[in-house]
């Protein structure tokens, strides 16, 4: 808040009679702050050059035991932990490649983009969110993995692979995906006599929420949904209903019948008052996993890893039921999140970096270990038929949740991502918050305004209506 210059000069205030001091200090403070804010930008201009790296090819004469390297890997929380755990088995095959996993995930994206821009400082391997892959691959500062990765195209869901390819070149390898279902607390459902099997549609879900609220005397809410952070649920519902933010040509496609249905579900949830107004990933949110405040979490498979991490003592208390459909017989899954691994073009040890990605993302044992230990649902399809998926998981009271999550994933409609996806998502979050605060106007009106805002802010055209109805 107050500048450092201001703090240092506190003692000199005794000389307050001298008129010049404030003028000088103010100017200096302003200049100092402006300089601090912009020095980074200028640094980029100094050293940022253009990169057009060669596609990665491997020397077949080097065997895994001969390959040497010392690589840095960036990732966040459970994902990074999961990679770290894979280093010893990786070293069984590649004994001379040293791997350091850097787990500080805070503002990883910004730091990563700045390193790409500066041309130095990037790790050898980095995790990125799937939705960001488009933004990074178009910078051409990621290694072109096409020659070594082309063989894996059939091994990943097409909707995921699409986000890793830019102008026909592969720049990222899918890691985990986020098939959605509803995590619920068994004891609460038992106590208030609600049968999870009876919940098939979002109407059923809201009905169950009402019962829960009534039978618990208002103590237990069905879900956590903060009006300031509704984009996650919106995205889940939009993808479940084959809606889009952007059409195939990158035009704004949010004002669609699918999105109207999404809005109506959110509106009914809020009107029923079955949501606890808790910010996701906040302390209150983590605390809610251990209390009776919230009964269910409609979200992606990786959330299981978060529960295990923050509330290990709740083992056995959790169950999972499939995501409610819009109408009976409708699709009962969706996707939220998921990540990829990439190699920045500035990496000097690409063969070692690729060996690590190849092992962790494209082998059966590594993928199964990651799912077993950290609930990272593998995007690597060849293992989905594995008996491992039918093993009961004691954390969920012996339920075979892996099979449940893997059901129908090939039917999840793809969601188009653009380089400004997260910016668009932020406008969506802001608009939803305002909509909920101002008494929830008609969804059609809301979407028309949002469409207009996105078009203006992102400088994109609005998709023709006819196109939307056909999609």
């Amino acid at each position: 808040m107050l500048s450092a210059a201001g703090r240092d000069d506190g003692a000199r205030l005794q000389t307050r009679g001298k008129a010049g001091i404030i003028t000088r200090m103010t100017k200096r403070t302003i200049a100092g702050q402006r300089a601090a804010a912009l020095v980074l930008v200028s640094a980029l201009a100094f050293i940022g050059g253009s990169f057009a790296g060669e596609p990665l090819t491997l020397d077949p004469s080097i065997s895994p035991t001969d390959l040497t390297g010392n690589i840095q890997v960036w990732g966040w929380n459970i994902a990074a932990a999961s990679l770290e755990k894979l280093v010893p088995p990786f070293n069984d095959i590649y004994p001379r490649v040293i791997v350091h996993v850097n787990m500080t995930g805070a503002y990883l994206q910004s730091r990563f983009l700045l390193s790409l821009s500066a041309g130095v400082g990037a790790p050898d391997v980095s995790q990125l969110q799937l939705a960001e892959a488009a933004r990074y691959s178009r910078t051409r500062r990621l290694t072109d993995l096409t020659p070594v990765a082309r063989k894996y195209e059939k091994d990943f869901p097409a909707s995921f692979w699409k986000n890793c390819v830019f102008e026909g070149r592969i720049h990222a390898i899918p890691w985990d995906m986020g098939p959605c279902a509803v995590f619920y607390k068994r004891d609460l459902f038992r106590r208030y006599q609600i049968d999870p099997a009876s919940i098939e549609t979002w109407d059923d879900y809201i009905g169950a929420g009402r019962l829960l609220l009534e039978r618990s005397g208002g103590q237990t809410k069905m879900l956590q949904l903060s009006t300031g952070n509704m984009e996650g649920l919106f995205e889940i519902l939009l993808q479940q209903n084959a809606g889009q933010m952007f059409d195939d040509e990158g035009r704004i496609a949010i004002n669609s019948p699918q999105a109207v249905r999404v809005m109506s579900v959110i509106q009914r949830i809020l009107e029923a008052g079955i949501n606890a107004n808790i910010t996701p990933y906040s302390h209150a949110s983590y605390a809610s996993m251990k209390s009776d405040l919230v009964a269910t979490y409609p979200t992606a498979a990786w959330f299981g890893g978060t529960i295990k991490d923050y509330a290990p003592e709740t083992k056995g208390d959790w169950g999972v039921f499939r995501l409610p459909a819009m109408e009976r017989g409708g699709l009962r899954t969706s996707n939220l999140g998921g990540s990829v691994l990439v190699i920045p073009d500035q990496c000097s040890q690409k063969a070692a970096a690729w060996a690590f990605i190849d092992y962790t993302l494209c082998t059966r044992e590594a993928q199964i270990e990651q799912y077993r230990n950290f609930d990272l649902f593998p995007a690597f399809l060849p293992i989905h038929g594995d008996p491992f998926f039918d093993e009961p998981d004691p954390f969920y009271g012996g339920q075979k949740v892996r099979r449940l999550f893997s059901q129908d994933i090939e039917r999840i409609p793809p969601l188009n991502r653009t380089k400004d996806w997260f910016e668009a998502l932020r406008y969506l979050t802001q608009s939803l918050s305002k909509w909920a605060t101002n008494g929830m106007g008609p969804p059609e009106e809301f979407l028309a305004q949002l469409e207009d805002k996105l078009s203006r802010r992102l400088g994109r055209d609005i998709a023709p209506q006819a196109h939307l109805e056909g999609s």
């Binding site: 009006t227 300031g228 209150a284």
Partner: protein
């Protein structure tokens, strides 16, 4: 013609003659040039361009400024900045002044302890402060709402409603910066000679009159200094908002500093961010000049 050349020659020769001295003072100028002047000029240039730091820079002319005029989030952020300022500055000033007066009295014991205690929030790392305040502010399980519920009040959705996010931030700011301003004001109070008060007492002035006619007028330079620091602090405020609400819910607590950060280091729109920063810096500069002009007329 020849005289000009002669003068130039003599300047050059004078510089050459004093080259060692210039060499000694050069580090500042070199560093300032690289880290101060160059960014300032480059970001001014960027205000007329579009650049994400990675792909080609393109000239935008006045495009960024035109976009700024239609940017509702920008105006919301300015409004929020103003609103947060109005919410926290007056209570902070009053609190700081009252505490400074109390600490300046002769009868108070443990003065050093109180002074340190009030200054503590300034030196506490913001992340720690934020975690504590998030725990206090929680709607469902926060300490404040827990106490409010025990006393029969409705819970306040501090951080999760658009109405309460600004007061929540303002409250944190009051807590955090009152001590800092108090120290400044205390220094000011101690600088007022006791003779004025003695003379006033002899003349029969009461406590209120002494405050009104001696303390307040003599404290004016300190008040103005604190106001300017608060103005700048409010406009460029970032960490409090960033860790407490991230500008949400919606844009209800997005202030200028946070919006600038989002545009530059989340969206990577350096051109637009520079344009925004320059526009606001211009107005801050004008306002500061205005406040100083007020003060100058005061003194003369």
């Amino acid at each position: 013609m020849s005289s000009v050349a002669a003068r130039r020659n003599s300047l050059r020769s004078r510089i050459w003659r004093h080259r060692h001295f210039y060499l000694f003072i050069s580090p500042f100028f070199v560093l300032f040039g690289i880290f101060g002047l160059y960014p300032l000029l480059f970001s001014f240039y960027l205000s007329f361009a579009r650049w994400d730091g990675l792909t080609e820079l393109t000239w935008a002319g006045l495009g960024n400024f035109a976009a700024l005029v239609h940017d509702e989030v920008f105006f919301t952020s300015l409004w929020n900045t103003f609103a947060i300022g109005v919410l926290y500055v007056p209570p902070m000033f009053i609190g700081a002044f009252v505490f400074a007066i109390i600490l300046n009295t002769t009868w108070l014991k443990f003065r050093a302890f109180f002074r340190a205690a009030f200054f503590m929030p300034v030196v506490t790392p913001m992340v720690v402060v934020a975690i504590v305040f998030i725990l206090l502010y929680g709607q469902e399980a926060g300490l404040i709402n827990y106490l409010a519920a025990r006393m029969g009040f409705q819970p306040i959705p501090w951080l999760v409603s658009e109405q309460w996010s600004k007061p929540a931030i303002a409250l944190l700011l009051v807590w955090r910066w009152t001590g800092y301003n108090m120290v400044l004001m205390l220094a000011g109070l101690q600088g007022i000679s006791n003779e004025y008060y003695e003379a006033a007492r002899i003349e029969g002035a009461g406590a209120f009159q002494r405050m009104w006619h001696i303390t307040l007028p003599l404290m004016r330079p300190i008040f103005i200094f604190c106001s300017i620091m608060s103005l700048i602090g409010t406009v460029y405020m970032f960490d409090e908002v960033f860790v407490l609400t991230q500008g949400g819910p919606g844009t209800s607590s997005t202030n200028f500093g946070l919006y600038l950060f989002n545009v530059s280091f989340v969206d990577f729109k350096f051109g637009y961010a520079s344009c925004m920063a320059y526009t606001v810096a211009f107005f801050v500069f004008i306002t500061s000049l205005f406040i100083l002009r007020l003060r100058r007329s005061e003194l003369t």
